[in-house]
Symmetry: C2
Subunit: 205 residues, 2 copies
């Protein structure tokens, strides 16, 4: 979805829903022609992606200054088994964002970005967790990526085989993948008497 | 893991196990300083990654010719809830591969790469699915990435909070994520009398 009038809000909403569902993203940037792709955590606020940057990405992006980057998220929804090897695939939803990264230096923006990232992972959590102190804010590296171009791609449904392959005695179809959770594991040093919060026991993606 | 004698086989085995478990990967490359990160399917054969290339990646990589690229896979294993917002994280295993991509043109190599990709997704499947015809092989774009530098990164275990935050009355710990499957969905045009194969009903990741 380039930002053209011909593409409607539907595509944008689709892209937003995929970005919001994904727990992690892949940040791509290039230094002297060498691309790097680093996984990190993100949150979308309007048309801006906030990323929790690593030391590596900081060092490299600082070199470049206002570097072009690409942020991609992918949700794998299932295996697609065709009758022919060639047409095997995955069902998935992905979004590719092209944009420019800048380091967030304003303390208030950084603070709200950090909260957005936590809320993105576990909605409701910031009502309870200790918010970032001034030292926390200073010590953290946050990137803001302006979503200049956004394209969503979705593959769903059954395999697509050549007509003549339909005669083969080979099972074909989809194996849906579902992400689930196991029981929460309390921190070994958790103080006694603190129950698992409802926003976590009801957590779903 | 740069390929140094000081790094042992353990790291390499770890990286291999993560690459082999991941269903999809993210291929990063740059054109005129603009990075692109595209999700695709892969298979590892020794120290080579074979990727099922898209038309987009073909066009872009062809422009570059023997382009430097980065292939990253990430497995998200759980949510990490710290007492402080700042220390929230994910438990994950990731591998970053830096290498050079070449188009696979040899028919025999392409054929075995396609089979490796199918076996990577569903072990056992190539015993049953129709193998690639000569036309299939010609019509497919396969990339081979020599794994020149490989680094694996793993975060596991409980959150790491500042000592003074341990006094807070806030639940802290991990929420393990487990990938599961739903019942296989037969292709609507599946011929009657073809049962779900054992390699699929027993599929796990």
């Amino acid at each position: 979805m380039r930002r053209k009038p011909s593409r409607g809000s539907y595509d944008r909403e689709l892209a937003h829903s995929i970005l919001d569902e994904a727990l992690s993203c892949h940040l791509g940037f290039a230094v002297d022609g060498q691309p790097f792709v680093i996984p990190t955590i993100h949150a979308r606020v309007g048309e801006v992606l906030y990323l929790h940057g690593s030391r590596a990405s900081r060092a490299l992006l600082t070199l470049e200054g206002g570097a072009r980057c690409c942020v991609t998220v992918t949700l794998v929804d299932g295996l697609v088994l065709a009758r022919s090897a060639l047409h095997h695939s995955l069902n998935y939803r992905s979004v590719v964002v092209l944009g420019t990264a800048r380091e967030v230096t304003d303390a208030a923006e950084k603070r709200s970005a950090l909260e957005a990232v936590v809320e993105h992972i576990v909605p409701g959590r910031t009502t309870e967790a200790r918010g970032p102190s001034e030292a926390d804010v200073r010590s953290t590296f946050v990137l803001a990526v302006a979503m200049d171009e956004v394209s969503a791609k979705v593959r769903e449904g059954p395999p697509v085989d050549n007509r003549e392959d339909h005669e083969l005695h080979v099972w074909a179809g989809e194996l849906p993948l579902a992400s689930g959770t196991a029981a929460p594991i309390p921190d070994p040093e958790l103080r006694p008497g603190i129950e698992v919060p409802a926003y976590l026991s009801g957590w779903r993606r």
